[in-house]
Each structure stands twice: as C-alpha cells, then as structure tokens.
C-alpha cells in the first residue's frame, strides 16, 4: 500500500484529487457500483435491450479501482480488476498496467517489489513499447527510492514518445526532487508545448522558476523571478480564481519587491521604475484576490471541504505578507 501512497503515480489523473476525504468517499461506493454492474450482466433480457454497453461504466470502474487501492480496500480493487479483465482480456496493455499496479499495492516488502520489477522486465522484453507497463516500471523504480534509474528510464521513454505531457510532468517532478531545477524547468516547458493552455502546469512552472530564482541568488535571479511572475500571471489569466496561481503570484511579487528596492536605487532607470509599479499592482491584486477567495471558500466549507489545507496556507501567506509591510 505504501508504494502507492508515497508516489504520484504516472496514470494519476484518477488520483489527482490527492486528498483522502474524497478518495475515501469514492471507495465507499464500491459495493454499490460493483453490484449495479453485476445485476445488469445477469439479466439477459435487459442486456439485450440495452445492448450498447456504456463506455463510461468502465471508466468509472477504473477510477473506483484507483480509489479502492488508495484507501486499502484491496478486495474491491481486485473485483474491479477482474471486471476489467473480463471485458478487455488479460493481454490488454492497460489491463496489464492495472494488474501491475495492484500487485505493487499488495506487495508486502522489498522482495515482492523486486518480483514485480522482474515481471515488468519480462513483459517488456516481449513488447518493448508497452506504455502502461513502461510507466509502471518507472513509478516502481521511483517508489523503491531509485530516482536516478527512474530518471534514466523516463528519459529513454520520452525519446520514444516525446508527445506525452504526463511523462514530461513526471520527469519534472523527479528532477525537482533531486534538486535539478533547470532540468525540471525544461521538462515543464516541454509539457506546456504539448498542452499550452494547462493553467496548473503554468503554475507549476512558475513555482519551479521561483525555487530556481531563490537558489541561484546571484546572476540569473532577476530574470528567473520575472519569468516566474509571468507564468503565474498566465495561469490566473487562464483560470479565474485559481488559488494556487494567486498564491504563487503573491509570493513571487513580494520577493521581487523585497529584492527590487536596493538594486534599483542604484540604477534608477525609468523602465525599472515602471516595472516596479506594475509589480506592486500585481502584488496588491494577488493579495486581495487571495483574501476574497479565502473568505468565499471558508463561508461555504461544505463545498470546499477538500481544499481546507490550501485555504489555511493561503490565509497564512496573506497574514505574513501584510505583517511584513
């Protein structure tokens, strides 16, 4: 189980809502959904009338599978997996990937994980371009804390499939975890070239640039911070009320304002002065928006229950910035 929890899995669009409350709620519906599937399969007449099997149903079962694994309901997960295997056959690429995920999840110790890895290698020697298995293998390497191997393998994968935004994002995450910020920035830019309107990736890129700017204090600093602010701007331009984007914008602009003071006093260029004014405007805007969003979302906490952590963080940031001013 810990193998799943520790990593952001590659096929993570189902798990992306990484908060546990919603996941638990989903997985609690497992008996209901699985039961419904069974009854419609049992009654022959009904299945003749509704002969077109709905594609959505298998999508739901797949998502349910992820939720069950996350919450430790391995029995329901196995049921879901069997349902999918029944429909699509055990040699289907994606089903094989899911089965691998299940085996990883129920693996008890390191040797079981090694066993999974061997299985993946075996099936890859037959089908070298089995994307789900390739990705599972990389995720497994990562969760076995062998990030360098994972990065090498992922780079190999991306050479073959350079149009996979998901893989680029995963690579960026891996690089970031190894402290290689400039590589992470490059990977995120590649991902954005494939999906140019993904505001969350814009915000991620802004964050990566911000981190890089903080670590590379001296020469590249102003340039990267400026880029970071631009990407945060783009993310809030694409998505109204995007909390993460405004959070980053507030953070980056206040850092810029802190650093700006002494540097510009020396040069005193008119353009720099204008730019500073803009940054101040953005800073005020971001802070006000953050306050608004926090107020609004705290008011109807039912709806935003899953995002309480974000709200607390945003509130804390607003307080901290207004203290320092």
């Amino acid at each position: 189980m810990c193998a799943i929890m520790a990593q952001t899995t590659v096929e993570s669009y189902a798990i992306q809502s990484s908060n546990l409350i919603t996941t638990v709620r989903f997985s609690q519906q497992a008996p209901v959904i699985l039961e419904r599937g069974l009854t419609s399969e049992r009654s022959l007449i009904f299945s003749l009338i509704a002969n077109q099997e709905e594609p959505e149903r298998y999508g739901i079962i797949e998502q349910l599978f992820f939720s069950c694994l996350q919450t430790g309901d391995d029995r329901s997960a196995l049921l879901c997996l069997e349902r999918l295997t029944c429909r699509f056959g055990s040699s289907n690429e994606k089903v094989m990937g899911l089965r691998g995920l299940y085996e990883e999840a129920i693996a008890g110790d390191q040797s079981d994980l090694e066993e999974c890895l061997r299985k993946y290698d075996l099936s890859l020697s037959e089908h070298p371009l089995d994307l789900p298995i390739l990705k599972r293998r990389i995720a497994l390497l990562r969760s076995m804390s062998r990030p360098v191997d994972a990065i090498t393998n992922l780079v190999e994968l991306l050479k073959a499939v350079p149009t996979d935004a998901e893989a680029w994002c995963e690579l960026a995450d891996l690089y970031q975890s190894q402290g290689m910020s400039s590589q992470a920035i490059f990977s995120l830019e590649e991902a954005l070239l494939i999906v140019p309107n993904a505001w969350n990736i814009h915000a991620r890129l802004g964050e990566a640039l911000y981190i890089f700017a903080r670590t590379a204090e001296d020469e590249g600093f102003p340039q990267y911070l400026r880029k970071s602010i631009q990407h945060f701007c783009r993310s809030v331009e694409l998505c109204d009320d995007y909390l993460r984007g405004f959070y980053g914008l507030a953070l980056a602009t206040s850092l810029q304002l802190e650093q700006e003071g002494p540097m510009n006093a020396l040069r005193g260029l008119a353009s720099d002065f204008l730019y500073k004014e803009k940054i101040e405007g953005l800073n005020i805007l971001a802070r006000r928006k953050l306050e608004d969003i926090v107020k609004q979302r705290s008011a109807n906490c039912q709806l935003w229950e899953h995002a309480q952590g974000d709200l607390i963080a945003a509130k804390e940031l607003v307080d901290r910035i207004s203290e320092s001013h």
Partner: protein
C-alpha cells in the same frame, strides 16, 4: 410542350407504388446496415508502433509541429532558440530516423513493403465495401424497374431538377414533379445517411468500445506518415518551417494585461 397551368395526369397502377417504391427503399436501408457491419467486421485498426525507434520516428515530427504551434504561448526567446536549433539540426542530420543508414535512398515500393501493403488493402476494402453493393443494386434496379415513373412530388419544381428526378426516363415533356425509379434510388443513396445515423447510432458507435481501452494516450498510437511516404522528406520540410519562424511571446506584457483585465473588472487598484 406541356400546356402551362394544366396539371399533367398519368394513370398509374397503385401496385407500382407498393412493388417498386417500397422495395427499393427497404433494400437500400438493409444494404446500408449490412455494409456498416461488414465494414466493422473487416476493419483493421492501424498498427501501432512496435519498437521504441519506430515510435520515435513517428512522434518526433509532431514535436516540431507542437513547437511551431505552441511556442508563442510558453517559451521565452532563448528557450525557443535552443529548442529550434536542436530540432532543426536533428531533422537535418536524421537523428530521429528509425534507421539513419537507409536515409536518402528512394522509398521502398509500397507494393513490396508489408506495412504499406496492409494500409493499401485497408483502403481498398473500404472502397470495395462502397462500390460493390452500389453496382449490384443499381444494375438490379436497371434490370427490373428502369423507365418506371413511380411517384409525384406534391410541390412544383423548376426545370433544373429534371435530370435529378427523371434519370432513366427520356421524355422532354414530362412534368418535373414525376420521379423515376432510378432517381428514387439516387435520392435514397444520398438521403439515407440520417436514417442510418438513427438506426446505428453515430458513425463509429460499434467499434468505439474496443479502442477505448487500447489507447491510454491518444497521440501515442498516431501515425503522421501516410504509407509509402518518406519520413526524411517530412522532416526536412518541417525543419524549413521551423527555420523561418519568428519568435514572439504572449507572456510579454502579461503583467499589464492582468492588471488591465482582472484588476479593473474586480474594481481593484
């Protein structure tokens, strides 16, 4: 010449109606359905790439296209120049090709290349599936029903429609409103699409399911090359496209845009 204002009357056996109009319509619908299922049955999905190098050869072209389309939304000047130089030089040197050794040689004959052959067979099957039933039905109608005038439209039409509605009936004076059996066949041929849509669901409803689980990443299985096309040629032209590209970035001046759009909307600042 037909007299103006005087309704032409033709004495028709009502049996014509039941023994020609309905049979043609029913046969057309049934063959349409049959053809649909035959196509589904014989349809072979395009073969996905089997090796890493093959997939690389296919998708690297899309990478250049993506860069060309999306660079203004993402990249700054130097990041763009770096990628452009990398892609252009790789395209020129053929680094993405499946086997760089065979570069520059004339493309293999599509007749001998098994992959190309398969794709051509697929195309052929599709065409045959359209042609054969049409030929059969048309000759059936020509043999049995040619020259019959089977119905009269309840509204007047201009003379232009004569060739459309009265093919097979060579009379100059017949009112345009009369429809011949062969024309009825043509009308059915082109007009039954929506009926098929109603009966069979939208076009690819039948073979949709098997493909759903097959592709995790829809672009991964895509093949930008037509059979028999030389990837190297496409790479060269893509390299040219990239070379002439001029950089601009929508991130320039985004601060002003945000301040102007969002801030003024919210009544802030």
């Amino acid at each position: 010449m037909a007299l103006q204002g005087v309704e032409q009357t033709i004495l028709r056996d009502p049996a014509l109606f039941y023994w020609i109009l309905f049979p043609i319509t029913i046969v057309m619908i049934l063959t349409g359905i049959l053809r649909h299922y035959a196509t589904v049955l014989m349809n072979t999905p395009p073969k996905p790439a089997t090796t890493l190098a093959e997939s690389r050869e296919r998708l690297s072209l899309l990478r250049g296209v993506n860069l060309r389309n999306n660079a203004p939304a993402v990249l700054s000047q130097d990041a763009f120049e770096m990628r452009k130089n990398y892609l252009v030089s790789s395209y020129h040197s053929g680094a993405f090709l499946k086997d760089p050794a065979s570069r520059g040689q004339p493309p293999g004959n599509p007749m001998t290349d098994p992959a190309g052959m398969e794709a051509m067979m697929g195309m052929m099957k599709g065409n045959m599936m359209m042609m054969i039933p049409q030929t059969l039905i048309m000759s059936w109608i020509n043999a049995f029903f040619s020259g019959f005038v089977i119905l009269k439209l309840p509204f007047p039409l201009t003379i232009r429609f004569k060739s459309m509605l009265q093919s097979g009936v060579m009379t100059r004076d017949l009112d345009v409103r009369w429809v011949s059996s062969l024309s009825w066949y043509f009308l059915n041929l082109f007009g039954l699409q929506s009926v098929f849509g109603f009966i069979l669901g939208s076009d690819n409803a039948a073979n949709h399911m098997s493909q759903q689980m097959a592709t995790m990443n829809p672009t991964a299985g895509m093949n930008p090359f037509q059979p028999g096309q030389d990837p190297d040629k496409l790479y060269q032209s893509e390299a040219e496209n990239l070379e002439v590209m001029e950089h601009f970035c929508i991130l320039d001046g985004i601060e002003d845009r945000i301040l102007h759009n969002i801030a003024s909307k919210e009544g802030l600042v």
